[in-house]
């Protein structure tokens, strides 16, 4: 496997020069335990994913308190999934008036998706099948990574994957005007980032459109607070000459997993690996993930699945 620094020489990345503040970001070398990852088998209803993240963070904070030295980096996990059709927004939109709908929420009443206000940064976005969602739950303190560097790394990783692995042309990350995310032109965006930090442990993460399925849903709202920008997807951007063909959401998840390891100079293994050798924290996280898988199946079953397209007939 080619080392990261060698790859940089061959392929100087323009994505890592981002510096919204004065000092640049450098990945520290790491002696931390490997990251663990899980790819979900079916789309999760949004609340199931949210609860899972919050429960994992609670487990981690307790483990950190009980054994600050021993727990270092053990519970760092990367969750890869899709959601069922959902609109979300960040905490800037915490409406003080509970009787008023958020203006973007008004636009998507009764189209077949719920609308949630979350604690992450960033503004309105859509999640649904055809879009890969990643929730890295990492302790940035232990990893000695400032918040803004973490965002830059995620952004650079997604941009480099699209450009170098898939041959997408004209990738911009961030947008020339400074907007965080991964763009294929000044007016088209295919990956978004929105993070929440609780005592420096990350939750939420990134979302990247793989197939065109999310686009019709995105078109109903002004996503990310950017009026001039439309959503696009990797399938719409991969050149026809590309030998790899069009990857599925799962293919992309599997391709990104090793890149997380490279990004933070750590190994990355499946969550379920060697569980019997791990302590309570990792095992508890594993249990929570299994429960989320089961809850997703139950909720999706009860609701009879989810719509492929927005229902435009009932909007006000």
């Amino acid at each position: 496997m080619v080392s990261k620094s060698f790859t940089r020489l061959l392929n100087p990345s323009t994505f890592r020069q981002v510096s919204l503040s004065s000092s640049s970001c450098a990945t520290p070398s790491s002696s931390l335990p490997p990251l663990r990852y899980h790819i979900f088998r079916e789309p999760l209803p949004y609340p199931v994913g949210l609860k899972l993240q919050n429960d994992i963070i609670d487990v981690r904070l307790k483990a950190k308190k009980d054994d600050p030295a021993g727990s270092r980096g053990k519970g760092d996990v990367v969750l890869m999934l899709e959601h069922t059709p959902t609109y979300t927004t960040g905490r800037r939109d915490n409406s003080p008036n509970p009787n008023e709908l958020h203006p973007e929420e008004k636009k998507v009443q009764n189209v077949g998706a719920n609308f949630y206000i979350t604690k992450r940064g960033g503004q309105v976005t859509y999640h649904g099948p055809g879009q890969l969602v990643g929730y890295p739950i990492l302790d940035l303190n232990v990893m000695e990574t400032p918040t803004r560097c973490y965002v830059e790394y995620l952004q650079a990783m997604l941009a480099e994957y699209a450009r170098d692995d898939l041959g997408v042309q004209g990738v911009l990350a961030p947008h020339p005007e400074g907007h965080v995310g991964v763009f294929s032109s000044p007016t088209e965006k295919f990956a978004s980032i929105g993070i929440h930090l609780s005592h420096r442990i990350t939750s939420h993460g990134f979302a990247m459109n793989i197939t065109p399925q999310p686009i019709k849903w995105f078109d109903l709202v002004m996503a990310c607070g950017l009026a001039d920008v439309k959503a696009t997807s990797l399938h719409q951007l991969i050149p026809p000459s590309s030998k790899g063909g069009l990857p599925s959401v799962r293919d992309v998840a599997e391709s990104l997993i090793p890149k997380f390891g490279d990004l933070f100079s750590r190994g990355i293994i499946p969550l379920s690996q060697d569980l019997q050798e791990e302590g309570a924290e990792v095992n508890q996280i594993y249990e929570l993930v299994q429960k989320a898988e089961d809850d997703a199946t139950i909720v999706n079953g009860k609701q009879g699945g989810w719509p492929d397209e927005p229902d435009l007939s009932k909007r006000e």
Binding site: L20, S21, S23, G90, R91, R92, N94, K119, R120, G121, G122, N141, E144, P146, T147, R148, Y150, V151, V180, G181, I193, G194, I195, H196, L197, S198, H199, R200, T202
Partner: protein, 159 residues
Amino acid sequence: MISLRLARPASSILRTALAPQARTKAMSFSGVRFISTRYTTDHEWVSFDSNSNIGTVGITDYAQKALGDVVFVELPGQGAEVAQGDSIGAVESVKAASDIYAPVSGVIEEINETLADQPGLLNKASEGNGWLAKIKLSDPSEFEALLNAEAYKAHCEGQ
């Protein structure tokens, strides 16, 4: 019992900004009021005025550097009762919203309204004009238990 606390040497900003207050009638001996500053492991500072029992709270320079350009600050409501460690809002920068926590228990007396229009103040003057809120402490001993400047510096370097 009034105990005298010297302003910590590392807080030169505070030392120049604050002049000792005039003696009040109630104080029968030296009675010079000092405001001292302590820190939390979550990179917040509290500047405590033992006379008024009010602690001014903010995030440290270390924290604002780690965050990047602040675009939004979510603050607690005036009059809200908070317990030490409660989440009292967030600071958002480059798509990352970091929770902020009450370093001490008490009641929110005042919040820094300037931050609504000028969130960038948190980058420019996080330990001065970019203060977040003023809390009336319900338990001043919580303040005493926080990190002093040297301990905080060691904490930052050890991370």
